[in-house]
Amino acid sequence: MAGSTLEIKDLHVEIEGEEILKGVNLTINGGEFHAVMGPNGTGKSTLASAIMGHPKYEVTKGQVLLDGEDVLEMEVDERAQAGLFLAMQYPSEISGVTNSDFLRSSINAQREEGDEIPLMQFIKEMDATMDSLEIDKNMAQRYLNEGFSGGEKKRNEILQLMMLKPAIGVLDEIDSGLDIDALKVVSQGINQMRDDKFGCLIITHYQRLLDYITPDHVHVMMQGRVVKSGGPELAHRLEAEGYDWIKEELGIDDETVGQKA
């Protein structure tokens, strides 16, 4: 079997009583890389968060299925154990918990009791992965994300992605805050994950990232929906021309979620 399949069907999501997602449809198969683009405030992070089960977002309609299993019925940790991973746009800082203890707990959470990862093996893998992402070794013993720079946080998300090896990764603006060199390093990391099994949904504003990680599909979100899908060439056109032509094409005035289509 070529990996897992994540299906998002007519997904409606509210936050504090306000509807943000208004019927999103998207299918990600194992081995595929999808890019989701769109102007600010159009629901991209909401989609990512709702998939993972963020406590503030309430799904009012629609389905999210992972290999046919109802993801929305699962607790957040169960979603992760089922194979989902979300690299967050704004990762939390957790004082007193070292990065390395956290990573080890995460890895062990996906394994059976009694089958915990041996400490030496864990350290070796972590060291190697940190090297490949050019992360300073000190970061392992620092408290989770506490005082990390924007770019360090993003690299740390990818470190987790690479060590946890999920079936489907959702990466929310993993490129924001990265300098050009870091962007290259992080992209290499993500590309390393690429095989015929791993599926990935990459939320980004910039073609820059997609120069390194060529997506198989590109989607544009506006007003809490996917309004246009295409191949890599769609991202190139957005880079060159912006979003106005899509809005014109679809007769959209205000692309944010507050507006009725």
Binding site: G53, D77, Q81, F85, L86, M88, I94, V97, D101, Q160
Partner: protein
């Protein structure tokens, strides 16, 4: 519920108890005066904790405890706290009101170190004990509970370190309330003479989940000029014990007193830790961590008073409240007129894990001197649901995520604790209270 407020023991009982113990006249005298004072004096005044319905009178006072022949006779809970290599330790185990085990190395004895249960010390070093016992540290007449303490004292240790003697190994005491109704009226008297150094670690352990009893413990610590004392404690009374814990330090010139307190009782608790920085250049750190759970209510005071010039006092307390536990954290820094160039700092942080938990931090700075540095930080907050979301999004269960957050919240204090034994014990006890 009407709560009995009178003691089940009368003056005649106190007289007989003292005579049975063969106590010196001066101490019997203190007991009897204290008994009368206890009748008159009010309970300790707590601004924000209601103690009216707490049990302070239902307990058994005089319960014997057998010697132990081997450490295997100790319950698991205590063996875990003691860890490996107990045989070589300088250690006293108090079982109910008797000494079950006592050891002090010949080396330390030879240097003049005294480490005995308090009744033996009153016999063998009466003058020395009398000089310090409830004189300049805690007074008998502070409140009803300090008076009851003196009247009903039924356990304790005396530790004396002579001038210039440096004790390298920690000195340890375990107070084990084996009998579920036995009260502990316990006195720790620690005198570190000039330029001596010592580390002392104590544990209180009981198992009374259902039965009610009382613990009334007073510690008086004297770090004379140039002395260095580290005082570690992990309190671990079970749910049925109402505790009054009074720990008082007196710090001389160029002397240091480090408190490392694990306030891990499961029952209602009043815990007061006051340090008087008497000498110039004296220094104290008061570090404390707490995990509250169940329905318990607790009131903690950490108070450092600066009298000496260039004295430094640092209070650092972190508490986690679970279930419907409630806690008040008072932090008081007081700089007296004349204590120029002193530094009074404090930080109190409380994390509440459930909707029913309550926590409150009251930072107070009282400053009667112009030339000082002082600062405080306090925070009380609920666990951030986004933190839990983040941890869980990596497959970590809610319980485990909470465990990580609790350890994380307390770790900045735990990792600062200078006594390794206490660090290890704390991590152990915290782990036990997290689930």
């Amino acid at each position: 519920m009407a709560v009995e407020t009178h003691l089940p023991y009368d003056k005649q009982y106190v007289t007989e108890y003292s005579e049975k113990r063969n106590e010196p006249a001066w101490f019997k005298d203190i007991r009897l005066k204290a008994f009368d004072l206890a009748e008159e004096l009010p309970m300790p005044k707590l601004e924000k904790t209601r103690i009216r319905n707490w049990n302070f009178t239902n307990f058994k006072h005089d319960v014997a405890g057998n010697h132990i022949e081997s450490f295997d006779e100790l319950p698991e809970k205590i063996r875990v706290l003691l860890g490996e290599g107990v045989e070589d330790r300088n250690l006293i185990v108090v079982r109910n009101s008797d000494v079950a085990y006592a050891k002090l190395s010949e080396n330390l004895k030879g240097k003049g170190v005294i480490f005995e249960d308090i009744f033996t010390a009153m016999e063998e070093h009466s003058d020395l004990v009398q000089k310090y016992f409830m004189q300049d540290g805690v007074s008998v007449d502070e409140n009803k509970l300090t008076a009851r303490h003196a009247a009903l004292l039924n356990s304790g240790v005396f530790l004396y370190v002579p001038k210039n003697v440096v004790v390298d190994e920690p000195i340890q005491v375990v107070f084990w309330q084996e009998d579920n109704e036995a009260a502990l009226y316990n006195h720790v008297l620690l005198v570190a003479d000039q330029h001596s150094q010592v580390t002392y670690v104590e544990n209180y352990v009981s198992n009374n989940e259902e039965e009610e009893t009382v613990a009334n413990t007073v510690s008086e610590v004297f770090a004379l000029d140039g002395a260095k004392v580290s005082y570690g404690a992990v309190d671990n009374f079970a749910k049925g014990t109402t505790s009054y814990v009074n720990r008082r330090g007196t710090v001389g010139r160029d002397a240091t007193l480090e408190w490392a307190l694990g306030q891990m009782n499961d029952g209602n608790t009043i815990s007061e830790n006051i340090t008087n920085l008497m000498g110039d250049n004296s220094l104290s750190h008061a570090k404390a961590v707490t995990v509250g759970r169940g329905n318990q209510s607790q009131d903690f005071t950490a108070n450092i008073r600066h009298y000496g010039k260039a004295s430094e006092g640092y209070i650092l307390q972190h508490g986690v409240m679970k279930d419907r536990a409630a806690s008040i954290f008072n932090g008081i820094g007081k700089v007296e007129n004349g204590a120029a160039q002193s530094n009074a700092e404090q930080e109190s942080r409380v994390l509440m894990l459930s909707d029913g938990a309550r926590g409150d931090a009251n930072p107070i700075l009282l400053i009667d001197e112009d030339d000082v540095t002082a600062g405080h930080a306090a925070s009380v907050g609920r666990v951030d649901p986004l933190q839990l979301f983040y941890l869980m999004s990596r497959g970590i269960s809610r319980k485990e995520a909470e465990r990580l957050v609790i350890h994380g919240f307390l770790d900045p204090v735990v990792r600062e604790i200078p006594i390794e034994t206490v660090q290890t014990q704390l991590r152990e006890v915290i782990e036990g209270k997290v689930y």
